[in-house]
Assembly symmetry: C2
Protein backbone atom coordinates (compact mmCIF):
# COMPACT_ATOMS: atom_id res chain seq x y z
CA UNK A 1 0.00 0.00 0.00
CA UNK A 2 1.54 3.31 -1.07
CA UNK A 3 2.43 5.71 1.75
CA UNK A 4 1.66 9.41 1.46
CA UNK A 5 2.98 12.33 3.49
CA UNK A 6 0.77 15.38 4.08
CA UNK A 7 1.70 18.90 5.08
CA UNK A 8 -1.24 20.20 7.08
CA UNK A 9 -2.40 23.60 8.31
CA UNK A 10 -5.02 23.86 11.04
CA UNK A 11 -6.65 26.19 13.47
CA UNK A 12 -6.61 24.39 16.81
CA UNK A 13 -9.45 26.32 18.46
CA UNK A 14 -12.31 23.86 17.86
CA UNK A 15 -10.20 20.79 18.62
CA UNK A 16 -9.14 18.93 21.74
CA UNK A 17 -5.72 18.62 20.10
CA UNK A 18 -4.17 16.52 17.35
CA UNK A 19 -4.78 13.14 18.92
CA UNK A 20 -7.95 11.19 18.22
CA UNK A 21 -10.32 11.00 21.21
CA UNK A 22 -13.60 9.21 21.66
CA UNK A 23 -15.76 12.07 22.86
CA UNK A 24 -14.05 15.21 21.58
CA UNK A 25 -13.31 16.60 18.13
CA UNK A 26 -9.65 16.19 17.19
CA UNK A 27 -7.60 17.13 14.16
CA UNK A 28 -6.57 13.51 13.66
CA UNK A 29 -10.20 12.38 13.88
CA UNK A 30 -11.32 14.96 11.30
CA UNK A 31 -8.43 14.05 9.01
CA UNK A 32 -9.09 10.31 9.25
CA UNK A 33 -12.79 10.90 8.54
CA UNK A 34 -11.83 12.73 5.34
CA UNK A 35 -9.45 9.89 4.38
CA UNK A 36 -12.19 7.33 4.99
CA UNK A 37 -14.36 9.16 2.41
CA UNK A 38 -11.69 8.43 -0.20
CA UNK A 39 -10.46 5.02 0.82
CA UNK A 40 -12.64 2.29 2.28
CA UNK A 41 -9.74 0.81 4.24
CA UNK A 42 -10.11 3.91 6.48
CA UNK A 43 -6.39 4.73 6.71
CA UNK A 44 -4.94 5.88 10.03
CA UNK A 45 -2.56 8.85 10.20
CA UNK A 46 0.58 9.41 12.25
CA UNK A 47 1.79 12.97 12.86
CA UNK A 48 5.17 14.53 13.57
CA UNK A 49 3.84 16.39 16.61
CA UNK A 50 0.82 15.72 18.79
CA UNK A 51 -0.25 19.30 19.39
CA UNK A 52 -2.38 20.11 22.45
CA UNK A 53 -5.90 21.51 22.56
CA UNK A 54 -6.08 24.97 20.98
CA UNK A 55 -2.59 24.75 19.44
CA UNK A 56 -2.37 25.56 15.72
CA UNK A 57 -0.22 24.44 12.80
CA UNK A 58 1.16 25.99 9.65
CA UNK A 59 3.21 22.91 8.86
CA UNK A 60 2.18 19.77 10.69
CA UNK A 61 3.32 16.66 8.82
CA UNK A 62 1.53 13.31 8.89
CA UNK A 63 1.51 10.12 6.84
CA UNK A 64 -1.00 7.42 5.91
CA UNK A 65 -1.04 4.24 3.82
CA UNK A 66 -3.63 4.33 1.08
CA UNK A 67 -5.20 1.43 -0.79
CA UNK A 68 -4.74 3.18 -4.17
CA UNK A 69 -1.86 4.88 -5.87
CA UNK A 70 -3.20 8.44 -5.89
CA UNK A 71 -1.77 11.38 -7.76
CA UNK A 72 -0.57 13.53 -4.81
CA UNK A 73 -2.15 16.75 -6.11
CA UNK A 74 -5.51 15.07 -6.70
CA UNK A 75 -5.33 13.47 -3.28
CA UNK A 76 -4.77 16.84 -1.57
CA UNK A 77 -7.63 18.41 -3.53
CA UNK A 78 -9.99 15.55 -2.62
CA UNK A 79 -9.00 15.75 1.05
CA UNK A 80 -9.53 19.52 1.16
CA UNK A 81 -12.97 18.98 -0.31
CA UNK A 82 -13.92 16.43 2.35
CA UNK A 83 -12.30 18.37 5.23
CA UNK A 84 -14.68 21.31 4.76
CA UNK A 85 -15.91 23.07 6.85
CA UNK A 86 -13.29 22.05 9.46
CA UNK A 87 -10.43 24.61 9.67
CA UNK A 88 -7.92 22.10 8.36
CA UNK A 89 -6.21 22.26 4.96
CA UNK A 90 -3.73 20.03 3.16
CA UNK A 91 -1.06 22.34 1.75
CA UNK A 92 1.32 19.66 0.50
CA UNK A 93 1.17 15.98 -0.41
CA UNK A 94 3.91 13.58 -1.55
CA UNK A 95 4.37 9.87 -2.03
CA UNK A 96 7.06 8.53 0.33
CA UNK A 97 8.90 5.26 0.96
CA UNK A 98 7.12 2.52 2.90
CA UNK A 99 9.47 2.95 5.86
CA UNK A 100 9.25 6.75 5.97
CA UNK A 101 7.55 7.95 9.17
CA UNK A 102 6.22 11.46 9.86
CA UNK A 103 7.30 11.26 13.50
CA UNK A 104 10.38 9.05 13.54
CA UNK A 105 11.94 10.33 10.32
CA UNK A 106 11.71 13.97 11.48
CA UNK A 107 15.07 15.57 12.15
CA UNK A 108 13.90 18.99 13.37
CA UNK A 109 10.75 20.71 14.60
CA UNK A 110 10.04 24.42 14.51
CA UNK A 111 7.38 26.19 16.54
CA UNK A 112 6.48 29.84 16.65
CA UNK A 113 4.66 31.59 19.45
CA UNK A 114 2.85 34.87 18.73
CA UNK A 115 2.25 37.53 21.41
CA UNK A 116 0.43 40.77 20.70
CA UNK A 117 1.23 43.61 23.04
CA UNK A 118 -1.84 45.76 23.56
CA UNK A 119 -4.40 46.84 26.09
CA UNK A 120 -7.68 46.00 24.30
CA UNK A 121 -8.90 42.42 23.81
CA UNK A 122 -7.90 40.83 20.50
CA UNK A 123 -10.49 40.87 17.74
CA UNK A 124 -9.10 39.60 14.44
CA UNK A 125 -6.39 37.58 16.19
CA UNK A 126 -8.60 36.23 18.99
CA UNK A 127 -7.49 32.65 19.71
CA UNK A 128 -4.58 33.09 17.28
CA UNK A 129 -2.15 34.94 19.56
CA UNK A 130 -1.59 35.69 23.24
CA UNK A 131 -2.56 39.22 24.17
CA UNK A 132 -0.08 40.60 26.68
CA UNK A 133 -1.11 43.91 28.17
CA UNK A 134 2.16 44.86 29.85
CA UNK A 135 4.92 46.23 27.62
CA UNK A 136 7.68 43.67 27.08
CA UNK A 137 11.43 44.25 27.17
CA UNK A 138 12.68 42.17 24.25
CA UNK A 139 16.35 42.59 25.10
CA UNK A 140 15.73 41.11 28.55
CA UNK A 141 13.72 38.26 27.01
CA UNK A 142 16.55 37.50 24.59
CA UNK A 143 19.07 37.51 27.46
CA UNK A 144 16.89 35.11 29.42
CA UNK A 145 16.31 32.86 26.41
CA UNK A 146 20.06 32.53 25.77
CA UNK A 147 20.44 30.40 28.91
CA UNK A 148 18.15 27.75 27.40
CA UNK A 149 20.13 27.15 24.21
CA UNK A 150 22.01 23.85 24.11
CA UNK A 151 21.54 20.48 25.78
CA UNK A 152 19.92 20.65 29.20
CA UNK A 153 17.71 18.80 31.64
CA UNK A 154 14.43 20.65 30.93
CA UNK A 155 12.49 19.23 33.90
CA UNK A 156 11.51 22.80 34.92
CA UNK A 157 9.93 23.36 31.51
CA UNK A 158 8.01 20.12 30.97
CA UNK A 159 4.47 19.19 31.90
CA UNK A 160 4.08 16.85 34.83
CA UNK A 161 2.12 14.70 32.34
CA UNK A 162 5.06 14.51 29.94
CA UNK A 163 5.66 10.91 28.88
CA UNK A 164 9.16 11.30 27.46
CA UNK A 165 11.64 8.94 29.11
CA UNK A 166 14.31 11.60 29.54
CA UNK A 167 14.03 15.33 30.35
CA UNK A 168 17.22 15.91 28.36
CA UNK A 169 16.69 17.93 25.17
CA UNK A 170 18.81 20.07 22.88
CA UNK A 171 17.34 23.46 22.05
CA UNK A 172 19.08 24.69 18.90
CA UNK A 173 17.64 28.18 18.63
CA UNK A 174 15.27 30.73 20.17
CA UNK A 175 14.72 33.87 18.11
CA UNK A 176 12.61 36.74 19.44
CA UNK A 177 11.49 39.34 16.93
CA UNK A 178 9.05 42.22 16.88
CA UNK A 179 7.00 43.47 13.95
CA UNK A 180 4.19 45.98 13.52
CA UNK A 181 0.86 44.24 13.13
CA UNK A 182 -2.29 46.21 12.25
CA UNK A 183 -3.59 45.24 15.71
CA UNK A 184 -0.50 46.28 17.65
CA UNK A 185 3.15 45.28 18.13
CA UNK A 186 3.54 41.53 17.56
CA UNK A 187 6.33 39.59 19.20
CA UNK A 188 7.25 36.23 17.72
CA UNK A 189 9.26 33.65 19.60
CA UNK A 190 10.59 31.03 17.20
CA UNK A 191 12.12 27.84 18.60
CA UNK A 192 13.95 25.02 16.89
CA UNK A 193 14.96 21.58 18.16
CA UNK A 194 15.03 17.95 17.07
CA UNK A 195 12.13 17.34 19.44
CA UNK A 196 10.39 18.94 22.41
CA UNK A 197 8.98 17.81 25.74
CA UNK A 198 5.26 18.15 26.49
CA UNK A 199 4.42 21.83 27.16
CA UNK A 200 8.07 22.79 26.74
CA UNK A 201 7.49 25.71 24.37
CA UNK A 202 4.55 27.15 26.33
CA UNK A 203 6.49 26.77 29.59
CA UNK A 204 9.47 28.62 28.13
CA UNK A 205 7.24 31.35 26.65
CA UNK A 206 5.38 31.83 29.95
CA UNK A 207 8.69 32.24 31.76
CA UNK A 208 10.14 34.61 29.15
CA UNK A 209 6.99 36.75 29.32
CA UNK A 210 7.72 37.23 33.03
CA UNK A 211 11.24 38.34 32.15
CA UNK A 212 9.92 40.71 29.49
CA UNK A 213 7.43 42.30 31.85
CA UNK A 214 10.03 42.72 34.59
CA UNK A 215 8.70 40.10 37.03
CA UNK A 216 11.94 38.12 36.69
CA UNK A 217 15.48 38.96 35.78
CA UNK A 218 17.05 37.26 32.74
CA UNK A 219 19.43 35.37 35.02
CA UNK A 220 16.44 33.90 36.86
CA UNK A 221 15.85 31.75 33.77
CA UNK A 222 19.24 30.14 34.37
CA UNK A 223 18.36 29.48 38.01
CA UNK A 224 14.94 28.06 37.02
CA UNK A 225 16.55 25.71 34.47
CA UNK A 226 19.23 24.55 36.89
CA UNK A 227 16.71 23.92 39.68
CA UNK A 228 15.12 21.10 37.61
CA UNK A 229 11.96 21.92 39.52
CA UNK A 230 8.63 22.37 37.77
CA UNK A 231 7.63 24.90 40.45
CA UNK A 232 10.37 27.25 39.21
CA UNK A 233 8.64 27.61 35.83
CA UNK A 234 6.49 30.63 34.99
CA UNK A 235 2.78 30.18 34.19
CA UNK A 236 2.33 28.05 31.07
CA UNK A 237 1.47 30.37 28.16
CA UNK A 238 -2.00 29.81 26.62
CA UNK A 239 -2.27 27.56 23.55
CA UNK A 240 -3.65 30.43 21.43
CA UNK A 241 -0.27 31.74 20.30
CA UNK A 242 1.45 28.42 19.54
CA UNK A 243 1.93 27.06 16.02
CA UNK A 244 3.81 24.00 14.80
CA UNK A 245 5.39 25.84 11.91
CA UNK A 246 7.74 23.38 10.23
CA UNK A 247 9.00 19.82 10.45
CA UNK A 248 12.19 18.95 8.64
CA UNK A 249 13.32 15.69 7.07
CA UNK A 250 16.46 14.53 5.28
CA UNK A 251 15.87 14.57 2.38
CA UNK A 252 13.09 17.16 2.47
CA UNK A 253 9.64 15.90 1.48
CA UNK A 254 8.04 19.29 0.79
CA UNK A 255 9.65 22.23 -0.97
CA UNK B 1 -24.15 65.77 27.65
CA UNK B 2 -20.49 65.19 26.83
CA UNK B 3 -19.78 63.62 23.45
CA UNK B 4 -17.22 60.85 23.08
CA UNK B 5 -15.54 59.49 19.96
CA UNK B 6 -14.53 55.82 19.78
CA UNK B 7 -12.05 54.08 17.55
CA UNK B 8 -13.37 50.56 17.09
CA UNK B 9 -12.01 47.29 15.76
CA UNK B 10 -14.33 44.45 14.85
CA UNK B 11 -14.56 41.16 13.09
CA UNK B 12 -17.61 41.40 10.86
CA UNK B 13 -18.24 37.67 10.46
CA UNK B 14 -20.97 37.22 13.09
CA UNK B 15 -22.75 40.47 12.21
CA UNK B 16 -25.26 41.54 9.63
CA UNK B 17 -23.21 44.72 9.28
CA UNK B 18 -22.67 47.89 11.28
CA UNK B 19 -26.25 49.10 11.23
CA UNK B 20 -28.71 48.12 13.96
CA UNK B 21 -31.39 45.68 12.82
CA UNK B 22 -34.34 44.24 14.64
CA UNK B 23 -33.77 40.56 14.03
CA UNK B 24 -30.06 40.24 13.30
CA UNK B 25 -26.92 40.86 15.34
CA UNK B 26 -25.18 44.07 14.33
CA UNK B 27 -22.03 45.84 15.47
CA UNK B 28 -24.03 48.96 16.32
CA UNK B 29 -26.52 46.89 18.33
CA UNK B 30 -23.75 45.17 20.30
CA UNK B 31 -22.00 48.50 20.91
CA UNK B 32 -25.17 50.24 22.07
CA UNK B 33 -25.94 47.31 24.40
CA UNK B 34 -22.52 47.76 26.01
CA UNK B 35 -23.10 51.54 26.32
CA UNK B 36 -26.48 50.90 27.95
CA UNK B 37 -24.73 48.89 30.66
CA UNK B 38 -22.77 52.00 31.60
CA UNK B 39 -25.31 54.75 31.06
CA UNK B 40 -29.02 54.42 31.75
CA UNK B 41 -29.90 56.96 29.05
CA UNK B 42 -28.91 54.15 26.58
CA UNK B 43 -26.83 56.35 24.24
CA UNK B 44 -27.09 55.82 20.49
CA UNK B 45 -23.97 55.72 18.31
CA UNK B 46 -23.26 57.16 14.89
CA UNK B 47 -20.44 55.69 12.80
CA UNK B 48 -18.21 57.06 10.05
CA UNK B 49 -18.98 54.11 7.76
CA UNK B 50 -21.90 51.71 7.74
CA UNK B 51 -20.01 48.55 6.83
CA UNK B 52 -21.89 45.65 5.23
CA UNK B 53 -22.42 42.13 6.58
CA UNK B 54 -19.11 40.32 7.03
CA UNK B 55 -16.98 43.44 6.53
CA UNK B 56 -14.36 44.11 9.21
CA UNK B 57 -12.77 47.18 10.76
CA UNK B 58 -9.39 48.09 12.18
CA UNK B 59 -10.39 51.71 12.62
CA UNK B 60 -14.11 52.39 12.51
CA UNK B 61 -14.95 55.66 14.29
CA UNK B 62 -18.23 56.36 16.06
CA UNK B 63 -19.55 58.86 18.59
CA UNK B 64 -22.13 58.89 21.37
CA UNK B 65 -23.42 61.38 23.94
CA UNK B 66 -23.03 60.14 27.50
CA UNK B 67 -24.88 61.27 30.61
CA UNK B 68 -21.65 61.43 32.64
CA UNK B 69 -18.26 62.98 32.06
CA UNK B 70 -16.20 59.81 31.82
CA UNK B 71 -12.45 59.59 31.80
CA UNK B 72 -11.86 58.35 28.21
CA UNK B 73 -9.48 55.57 29.21
CA UNK B 74 -11.85 54.25 31.88
CA UNK B 75 -14.74 54.44 29.43
CA UNK B 76 -12.90 52.34 26.84
CA UNK B 77 -11.92 49.78 29.49
CA UNK B 78 -15.52 49.53 30.76
CA UNK B 79 -16.86 49.16 27.21
CA UNK B 80 -14.35 46.42 26.37
CA UNK B 81 -15.45 44.61 29.51
CA UNK B 82 -19.13 44.76 28.52
CA UNK B 83 -18.49 44.00 24.83
CA UNK B 84 -17.09 40.55 25.64
CA UNK B 85 -17.40 37.99 24.11
CA UNK B 86 -18.37 39.87 20.91
CA UNK B 87 -15.37 40.33 18.56
CA UNK B 88 -15.47 44.11 19.01
CA UNK B 89 -12.87 46.19 20.84
CA UNK B 90 -12.52 49.88 21.61
CA UNK B 91 -8.95 50.80 20.75
CA UNK B 92 -9.27 54.57 21.27
CA UNK B 93 -11.58 56.96 23.08
CA UNK B 94 -11.59 60.76 23.22
CA UNK B 95 -13.89 63.53 24.38
CA UNK B 96 -14.98 65.71 21.45
CA UNK B 97 -16.94 68.91 20.86
CA UNK B 98 -20.75 68.74 20.93
CA UNK B 99 -20.97 69.42 17.19
CA UNK B 100 -18.31 66.91 16.20
CA UNK B 101 -19.78 64.05 14.14
CA UNK B 102 -18.12 60.72 13.34
CA UNK B 103 -19.70 60.66 9.89
CA UNK B 104 -20.04 64.30 8.85
CA UNK B 105 -16.75 65.54 10.30
CA UNK B 106 -14.76 62.82 8.50
CA UNK B 107 -12.49 64.15 5.77
CA UNK B 108 -11.10 60.85 4.48
CA UNK B 109 -11.80 57.12 4.65
CA UNK B 110 -9.31 54.33 4.08
CA UNK B 111 -10.17 50.74 3.32
CA UNK B 112 -7.91 47.79 2.72
CA UNK B 113 -8.83 44.61 0.91
CA UNK B 114 -6.80 41.45 1.56
CA UNK B 115 -6.47 38.65 -1.03
CA UNK B 116 -4.49 35.50 -0.38
CA UNK B 117 -3.24 33.71 -3.47
CA UNK B 118 -3.24 29.99 -2.87
CA UNK B 119 -4.83 26.72 -3.88
CA UNK B 120 -5.92 25.29 -0.51
CA UNK B 121 -8.85 26.72 1.47
CA UNK B 122 -7.88 29.33 4.06
CA UNK B 123 -7.53 28.14 7.65
CA UNK B 124 -6.16 30.85 9.95
CA UNK B 125 -7.43 33.62 7.66
CA UNK B 126 -10.82 32.05 6.91
CA UNK B 127 -13.37 34.88 6.70
CA UNK B 128 -10.55 37.42 7.05
CA UNK B 129 -9.31 37.47 3.45
CA UNK B 130 -10.42 36.44 -0.02
CA UNK B 131 -8.71 33.30 -1.25
CA UNK B 132 -7.91 33.62 -4.94
CA UNK B 133 -6.67 30.41 -6.51
CA UNK B 134 -5.46 31.82 -9.82
CA UNK B 135 -2.10 33.62 -9.82
CA UNK B 136 -2.56 37.38 -10.12
CA UNK B 137 -0.57 39.79 -12.30
CA UNK B 138 -0.05 42.77 -10.01
CA UNK B 139 1.37 45.01 -12.72
CA UNK B 140 -1.79 44.54 -14.78
CA UNK B 141 -3.96 45.21 -11.73
CA UNK B 142 -2.06 48.44 -11.04
CA UNK B 143 -2.47 49.52 -14.66
CA UNK B 144 -6.20 48.87 -14.48
CA UNK B 145 -6.54 50.63 -11.12
CA UNK B 146 -4.86 53.77 -12.45
CA UNK B 147 -7.92 54.53 -14.63
CA UNK B 148 -10.05 54.86 -11.51
CA UNK B 149 -7.99 57.55 -9.77
CA UNK B 150 -9.58 61.00 -9.75
CA UNK B 151 -13.15 62.28 -9.95
CA UNK B 152 -15.49 60.05 -11.94
CA UNK B 153 -19.06 58.90 -12.27
CA UNK B 154 -18.74 55.53 -10.51
CA UNK B 155 -22.16 54.15 -11.54
CA UNK B 156 -20.45 50.97 -12.81
CA UNK B 157 -18.95 50.36 -9.39
CA UNK B 158 -21.89 51.07 -7.09
CA UNK B 159 -24.57 48.77 -5.75
CA UNK B 160 -27.99 49.13 -7.30
CA UNK B 161 -29.12 49.67 -3.67
CA UNK B 162 -26.77 52.63 -3.19
CA UNK B 163 -28.63 55.56 -1.67
CA UNK B 164 -26.11 58.30 -2.44
CA UNK B 165 -27.66 61.16 -4.42
CA UNK B 166 -24.76 61.38 -6.86
CA UNK B 167 -22.55 58.65 -8.39
CA UNK B 168 -19.71 61.20 -8.58
CA UNK B 169 -16.80 60.42 -6.26
CA UNK B 170 -13.12 61.28 -6.08
CA UNK B 171 -10.81 58.33 -5.57
CA UNK B 172 -7.52 59.71 -4.24
CA UNK B 173 -5.41 56.56 -4.21
CA UNK B 174 -5.33 52.83 -4.93
CA UNK B 175 -2.17 51.04 -3.82
CA UNK B 176 -1.63 47.36 -4.60
CA UNK B 177 1.13 45.61 -2.68
CA UNK B 178 2.22 42.03 -2.14
CA UNK B 179 3.82 40.53 0.95
CA UNK B 180 4.69 37.02 2.07
CA UNK B 181 2.19 35.72 4.58
CA UNK B 182 2.78 32.40 6.39
CA UNK B 183 -0.29 31.11 4.53
CA UNK B 184 0.79 32.25 1.06
CA UNK B 185 1.35 35.45 -0.95
CA UNK B 186 -0.96 38.18 0.35
CA UNK B 187 -2.06 41.01 -1.92
CA UNK B 188 -3.39 44.16 -0.27
CA UNK B 189 -5.42 46.72 -2.17
CA UNK B 190 -5.56 49.97 -0.18
CA UNK B 191 -7.99 52.68 -1.25
CA UNK B 192 -8.43 56.23 -0.04
CA UNK B 193 -11.22 58.76 -0.66
CA UNK B 194 -13.29 61.32 1.18
CA UNK B 195 -16.22 58.91 0.91
CA UNK B 196 -17.32 55.85 -1.03
CA UNK B 197 -20.47 54.60 -2.71
CA UNK B 198 -22.21 51.45 -1.49
CA UNK B 199 -20.16 48.38 -2.58
CA UNK B 200 -17.68 50.60 -4.41
CA UNK B 201 -14.55 49.01 -2.96
CA UNK B 202 -15.74 45.43 -3.42
CA UNK B 203 -16.89 46.23 -6.97
CA UNK B 204 -13.49 47.68 -7.81
CA UNK B 205 -11.64 44.74 -6.21
CA UNK B 206 -13.79 42.19 -8.05
CA UNK B 207 -13.02 43.92 -11.35
CA UNK B 208 -9.29 44.23 -10.63
CA UNK B 209 -9.14 40.53 -9.72
CA UNK B 210 -10.40 39.78 -13.22
CA UNK B 211 -7.62 41.94 -14.64
CA UNK B 212 -5.04 40.21 -12.42
CA UNK B 213 -6.14 36.75 -13.50
CA UNK B 214 -6.15 37.68 -17.18
CA UNK B 215 -9.92 37.67 -17.78
CA UNK B 216 -9.84 41.37 -18.63
CA UNK B 217 -7.24 43.75 -19.95
CA UNK B 218 -6.25 46.76 -17.84
CA UNK B 219 -7.82 49.09 -20.42
CA UNK B 220 -11.14 47.27 -19.96
CA UNK B 221 -11.38 48.98 -16.56
CA UNK B 222 -11.45 52.34 -18.36
CA UNK B 223 -14.19 51.11 -20.69
CA UNK B 224 -16.19 49.71 -17.74
CA UNK B 225 -15.91 53.02 -15.87
CA UNK B 226 -16.89 55.08 -18.90
CA UNK B 227 -19.88 52.86 -19.70
CA UNK B 228 -21.58 53.96 -16.42
CA UNK B 229 -23.28 50.60 -16.56
CA UNK B 230 -23.48 48.33 -13.53
CA UNK B 231 -23.42 45.31 -15.87
CA UNK B 232 -19.85 46.22 -16.91
CA UNK B 233 -18.58 45.63 -13.37
CA UNK B 234 -16.82 42.40 -12.39
CA UNK B 235 -18.32 40.14 -9.70
CA UNK B 236 -18.48 41.96 -6.37
CA UNK B 237 -15.61 40.66 -4.18
CA UNK B 238 -16.71 38.85 -0.98
CA UNK B 239 -16.89 40.85 2.26
CA UNK B 240 -14.27 38.63 3.94
CA UNK B 241 -11.27 40.63 2.74
CA UNK B 242 -12.60 44.15 3.36
CA UNK B 243 -11.57 46.29 6.34
CA UNK B 244 -12.41 49.89 7.18
CA UNK B 245 -8.87 50.71 8.21
CA UNK B 246 -8.81 54.42 9.02
CA UNK B 247 -11.04 57.48 9.15
CA UNK B 248 -9.37 60.89 9.21
CA UNK B 249 -10.50 64.13 10.78
CA UNK B 250 -9.10 67.65 10.91
CA UNK B 251 -7.83 67.97 13.56
CA UNK B 252 -7.12 64.29 14.24
CA UNK B 253 -9.00 62.77 17.17
CA UNK B 254 -6.80 59.68 17.63
CA UNK B 255 -3.03 59.54 17.40
Amino acid sequence: MPRFAFKIEYNGRPFSGWQRQTDHPSVQGAFESALARLDQTAPLVSAAGRTDAGVHAFGQVAHADMASDWDPFRLSEALNFHLKPAPIAVIGCAKVADDWHARFSAIERNYIYRLINRRAPLVHEAGLAWRVQRPLDLAAMRDGAAYLIGTHDFTTFRSTNCQAKSPLKTLDQITITEAANRCGPEITIAVRARSFLHNQVRSIVGTLEQVGSGNRMPVDVKAALESRDRAACGPVAPPDGLYLSRVRYDPEIFS
